[in-house]
Amino acid sequence: MEVRSSMSRFGATSLLPSAIVFSIVQEMGPTITGLVVSGRVGAGIGAELASMKVTEQIDAMEASAVNPFRLLAATRILACILMLPLLTLGADACGIFMGWIAQTLVEPISLHQFIESGFRGATLSSFLPPTFKTSVFGLIIGLIACFQGMRTRGGAEGVGRAATNSVVLASLFVILADVVLVKLILVIFPS
């Protein structure tokens, strides 16, 4: 809605659907999904593994000759890598839909027309690289959360610290990774 008022000064309101779709699919959707998952899933993984660490469950696993990194960490990291792109697609769809709602409140437009206008001129390289960069976000979130959880010490305080550190560090590194990956995508897939 704010962008609309800026674009109307230049007579470019017809480009609004494209602006909404491209901004969501190329940047906002992946980044916000990454940050939300950092908070929700990163904290969950960090707290769960930290709780297992302080209650000696991970030691019990090692004593049973089962590799806890393979069983606990690898599975969670793989899940994050595989699920982030799918979540991002869902987030993109929701974002585009809400963008249509916001546009319709000001200047009614059918959903079909909004999507047609928004995706005009789009190619696969506009959408796939930004979506799959979230796999890297998933790797970062999984690695950091598992690392923080499995090296916890200090009882309940340690569990809380692991959850907090997981969220803060994962969010920070997702943002940093986004900068690097956007640059990489622009180099590999120039506009």
Binding site: M52, T55, E56, Q57, D59, A60, M61, E62, A63, S64, A65, V66, N67
Partner: protein, 262 residues
């Protein structure tokens, strides 16, 4: 009665004569954050024997067990399990050794997202892949029956008492028919009746399975009940090792004090 200088040469019974010690630790040293926890510990345990490691809190008893199972690496010294030195083994080879050992943690360390049955089945799922589900289920029920908890199969660890958790932990430790059993404070935090039940259970399992067992405890009554030999640890060193009667006859002041206070 063995003192610190000659503890490693325990006499072997007829069935273990000529075989290496089940567990042999030699000159173990371990320091955590400038605090010496183990200071030259040397012990040996044969098959069919139960060694109780006694001592006050903070004397390194639990650390000793963790060094034996390989969860903690000693700074100096060696640990030999069934004749095999475990220092420097990679995770896979260490895993082969660990499959012959069962460890009961002080607080049982049950996996809280799994049921009692799934906890006991955990080692079987990962190391007995050839077992069918039916065979595995039968084995789990057999193990739980040994510890008197066959009715707790589908309960969650959070819904059972501390004593029951310990028993489930013991059943899990026995899942792979270990040759060596390590018990960390098996009766800690339990009422006298539950403690007695755990002691009886350990004795029964010992007579049936003839394992080499090391029990870390500060419960002298429990140690007297289940152990063939006792070792007293103080400030990371073995002060004395022998039968309970030998400890009673010792003139060492710390031993007398420990026996009197317990």
């Amino acid at each position: 009665m063995a003192t610190t200088s000659d503890v490693a040469t325990s006499p072997a019974g007829p069935e273990t004569a000529g075989l290496p010690c089940a567990v042999a630790v030699d000159n173990l040293h371990k320091t955590f954050a400038n605090r010496k926890v183990l200071d030259g510990v040397t012990l040996a345990v044969n098959r069919g024997e139960t060694l109780a490691v006694l001592g006050r809190s903070g004397t390194g008893k639990s650390v000793l067990l963790r060094v034996i199972i390989g969860l903690v690496q000693p700074d100096v010294g060696s640990v030999s399990i069934l004749g095999r030195e475990i220092a420097g083994l990679n995770l896979d080879k260490l895993g082969d050794v660990r499959k012959k050992m069962g460890f009961l943690f002080q607080h049982a360390a049950l996996y809280d997202s799994l049921t009692v049955g799934e906890n006991v089945a955990f080692p079987l799922v990962h190391h007995r892949a050839h077992m069918s589900k039916a065979e595995r289920d039968d084995r789990v029920i057999q193990l739980l029956a040994e510890v008197g908890l066959e009715n707790a199969l589908n309960k969650m660890p959070s819904n059972i008492s501390g004593g029951m958790q310990k028993r489930v932990g013991l059943a899990r430790a026995l899942a792979l028919d270990p040759e060596i059993l390590l018990l960390d404070e098996p009766t800690a935090g339990l009422d006298p009746i539950s403690s007695g039940e755990i002691d009886e259970l350990v004795l029964k399992l010992q007579s049936e399975h003839q394992m080499a067992s090391i029990v870390v405890t500060h419960d002298l009554h429990s140690a007297k009940t289940i152990a063939t030999r006792l070792a007293l640890l103080d400030r990371g060193q073995v002060v004395i090792e022998g039968t309970f009667e030998e400890l009673e006859q010792s003139e060492i002041a710390l031993v007398k004090q420990f026996l009197m206070q317990s």
